[in-house]
């Protein structure tokens, strides 16, 4: 089972990085989303895998799933939604302002004097 989870994390990371290396905003956002899944699951696995154990405190439970990574990942999921929303909005804004959705700056986009003087 560990191998399956690890390979899934690896697949999602690889796909995420590949899409983030594309030239348009939309694949970059999707890539970032995939990378977020990968990172969240990775953080979650730092509590080690466990099935059929409660995360709820009670008497007579055989053991508990590690609650700490769960709490951290829970906030991470919500925060990453906020961040995704911001970059989606930035991508949309950039597309509407510039008329294209390329992520790399052209040479003519940089100020000629490098902002000096």
């Amino acid at each position: 089972m560990e191998a399956l989870v690890a390979s899934a994390i690896g697949m999602m990371t690889a796909a995420g990085v590949y899409l983030m290396l594309r030239q348009r905003t939309f694949p970059v956002i999707v890539g970032l989303t995939l990378l977020t899944y990968a990172v969240n699951v990775f953080l979650f696995t730092s509590g080690r895998l466990a099935t059929n154990v409660p995360a709820i405190y009670g008497t007579g439970a055989p053991g508990y799933a590690d609650p700490l990574p769960q709490a951290l990942v829970l906030t991470a999921i919500v925060i990453s939604f906020g961040m995704t929303a911001v970059i989606v909005m930035m991508a949309l804004g950039a597309f509407l302002e510039a008329g294209h959705d390329k992520v790399d700056m052209n040479d003519d986009d940089t100020p000629a004097d490098g902002g000096q003087k």
């Binding site: 990371t13 970059v28 989303t33 995360a55 609650p67 989606v88």
Partner: protein, 954 residues
Amino acid sequence: MSLALIAALPFLGALLPGLMIRAGKNACALVTGSVTALALLMLGLNAPAVLRGEVVQTRIEWIPSLGLNANFFLDGLGLLFAGLILGIGLLIILYARFYLAKSDPMGQFYTYLMLFQGAMVGIVLSDNILLLLVFWELTSLSSFLLIGYWKHLPEGRQGARMALTVTGGGGLAMIAGMLILGNIVGSYDLSVILENKEAIQSSDWYLPALILILLGAFTKSAQFPFHFWLPHAMAAPTPVSAYLHSATMVKAGLFLLARMWPVLSGTPEWFYIVATTGLITMVMAAKIALFKDDLKALLAFSTVSHLGLITMLLGFGTAEAATVAVFHIINHATFKAALFMSAGIVDHEAHTRDLKRLGGLRTLMPITFTIVTIASLSMAGIPPLNGFLSKELMLEEAAHTAWMANPWLLGVLATIGALFSVAYSFRFIAHAFLGPVRTDYPGKPHDPGFGLWAAPALLACLVILIGLFPMLTASWLVNAAASAVTGEVIAVKITHWHGLYAPALWMSLAAIGGGLLLLGLHPRLMAFWNATPRPEAKRIFDGLMEPFATLAGRIANSLHDGALTRYIAIGTLAIAAASYYAFDTGTHAIGTRDLMPIPPVPALAWLSLVLATVAIVIFHRNRLLTLVLVGIIGLMVSVAFAYFSAPDLALTQISVEVATIILMLLALNFLPKTTPIESAPLRRTWDAAIAVIAGVGIAALAYALMTRNPAFQTISDFHVTNSKTGGGGTNIVNVILVDFRGYDTFGEIIVLGIAALVIFALTEALLRAGPANDRLLAWRPDQRRAGDRHPMMLVVATRVMLPIAMMVGVFIFLRGHNLPGGGFISGLIVAIALIMQYMASGFAWTAARQKVDYHALIAAGVLIAAATGIGAWFNGLPFLTSAFGYVTIWPLEEFELATAALFDLGVFLTVLGAVMLALASLSRIGLRAGETVNTQPFDIDPSEGRTLKSEEAR
């Protein structure tokens, strides 16, 4: 405490001008001034104790492990400087109110000014050299902002850069010097260092430390050969020049020399470096000042010259000379600030400060003329004004000090310096105010309003008062400050007449006579001056800086060429390389933890996740399909969380998934629907290689982690054990969120709120007139529209579901503390229920029926969470300590009330507000792009004319 507060007040005050400027310039100046006045008052309350010879101290431990403590102390020297900084600061605030033009952003000016003031006060009150260094660098930074205040002037920007480079560089040298000093003594506290003269002076490191510290002091106080930045800094507005470049910042170097005087002075090295530098600076700058036509340049070089004079006196290393230096610091601040402000008045009214274009202003500007005359005569050292008193004492000291066993050299050179000083002082009066009235002034010169001349007039009065009654007005302060500098009890005796046998009398007479002669010969000397080639400091400086700037530019531009893909590739490869290095150089063995079996259903879930991931990479050019595939992956991740005993995560992930996909769909409506093929196959292979390296690395790391037991005892057990007893809840994850790690959660909901506000602000910016707005107005949908955009089935279904979904939200919220659920999840659930209404009947229709502002929801959420946290203070507990109890209300069962639930309510409201605000912002863009607004809940109503429609159409 009060000392730390004095230093903190200007910084707190720096926040006010930005707000108060909306209430008008007078209110802004008044508020800024009252903060300074308050600090001055608090300083005054400490003054009696200091004058009695006590040292007031405030000690706060900050980072004790580094020896960095926020310790402050106030002795005579600190009192003198803090008084100058705050007192003249107050006058400058008044003066600047009337000096700045309507178009100048005054709030910004006062903010910079207060930052600077705070940094200066911090320097003179610090009892810890590391703290002092922090404030020291802050003065460099804030003066950079002030000098470059007129951003549209290239001279201003260049002057600001030059000042920052020189004083900042000196500051770096000083940091090194101070660290050496701290190492020798074994403490970074000034009061300890000042008691270790023998240890410091006998150390091998004395000379390096001395040179490094002097570099800092000399650059700040514009001593030769670093004097060149000060005249260029004159591009700043005149209030800045009067404040920074005459009264305060340039004196920070002198302050440091005086502060370190007890431990560093008295050695031949100190004498020859400090006294000689001061002497050269004094004579050279005085000579240059005579040949400057720009009033502010003249004053700038004169300032350099006077700073040299004070440096020289401190360099003599005797208590008498140090006392004179302290006295001259007071006098110079009074007359030079008055002169700068007067030069500003002339510039303000005559629209020029070029001496060649001025003259004859005596009758046109009588008040200004009076002020300038008093201050200039004092600068020239004419009796009975205060400048005369300290200059006489200086000449006396110079006459009695031998340089390299030469008894008269110092005296002669000091007299020559004084002679030039007389000449340029008289030139200021003569060439600007005397002579015939001209007809070709660029402006119409006349005396300004009271507000502008009040500050210099007050200083001119001080010049006279100190001059006439030095023992009454200044000796107490000189005594206190000089005693603090020298460590001896000083009782100074200042008189106007030292007798016929005092050499100073004859040196003074020679200086005045020679000065007047020079002024008479000025036209001819000027011609000679102009004909002689001189090194141009700015050109040399620029020549030195140019290669560095080019090199820095080349490195920065090649690394930061604006290509995001390149940054990501470099970053990923760097992380991979570092990780591989760590792996390769470490020791490792196969993990020993028992592996879990693979049942068939999870294997199928894994397969669908992997297939979806591969499909995304293959089909990513079809963007809609990509979103569907992302949904599958998100679903599988949620299922995985549920399978691995994390119900809270599963609930969160699945609700976030819904919101994310809706958001991306809304955005995709306006973005291109496909991604074109742009990169060559080679590039794609290369990218794929990077991606595979990253994936394999992460997978290996995850596998290695999961197959091992934790190397150390985890802290999770603590949370499990204390969840019920300490936090009052059985859902450990939720208790961690709202109790154990409540502070983290508090920060996170703030971040979420900020993210939503950023989205709102971005939308506002897009909808303002501009290319984006034009594009939206001319928007043509690139997809076919549905014939029935708001189908009745969907509308009815969502209406029916809304109360049920709300109920589920409340249920999930309430049970969250003990069973899976909580504020995060219920916030998302309620948000999705509301979004469904938007989807069913359209944004505008729904928004018109919405009674709650999403901004208010976010604010209420953060405030409720904060209030819950603060509530703990009233019970004497730390922030966010939760309390809970069990109550029974008939006929219900016993149930629990916890403050954590209130905190969770804050989380709920913030999450709800943030999600809704983000989606509502996107919908507003849709409206601008011509989306029609429906007046009825659905487009096609088969039962037209029935009650449903009329009710909804209200």
